[in-house]
Symmetry: C2
Subunit: 105 residues, 2 copies
């Protein structure tokens, strides 16, 4: 868990997270790659994913994942960090994230 | 399996079905209800689902499910029937449909 404060952006309570929003958020290969990297390697700053998409597009993807309750963002110095909400998601939608990631293999 | 012919509409080969399309198609409560009813009760004509949505909306939902490879449609007399492609989907995306349906409970 991060030591810094949550970024000044909205994070939905897990009970308010809708399945439809999670499915839409995971219905994109770049967003699934972000989730997979966070799952495999832990918290990570937005600028360090090395994905072949424009910064504005990447920003859109992080926002979609955050609004769907899939990740939290917090500020650490000048970096915006991302952390997966896997335990919360697994409690609310058992096995969903891993099943979707496996399906994409 | 149906005895009638497939309806004269496009059905993607299962290998051409994209995960993104399946997730988008399942990201809707009415479409999940259609899938759940087909799963529980077998093949069924479009007009017999008794869902509280307009016929045009329902038609849109069946089309979305068909294009995503989730169901097949065939004509039987004057009725358009629907059949779930569960075995094919489970071979391609193991456990995905049941995990999503369970998550919606």
């Amino acid at each position: 868990m991060p030591l810094g404060r949550w970024a000044s952006v909205a994070h939905p309570e897990i009970d308010a997270v809708e399945l439809d929003d999670v499915l839409h958020a995971l219905a994109d290969p770049t967003r699934r790659t972000i989730v997979r990297m966070l799952l495999a390697e832990g918290d990570r700053a937005c600028g360090t994913f090395g994905l072949p998409v424009a910064a504005s597009t990447l920003s859109h993807h992080f926002r979609a994942l955050r609004k769907a309750g899939i990740l939290r963002q917090y500020d650490e110095g000048r970096q915006r960090m991302n952390t997966l909400r896997l335990d919360e998601l697994d409690a609310r939608f058992p096995g969903l994230v891993s099943t979707v990631l496996d399906a994409a293999k």
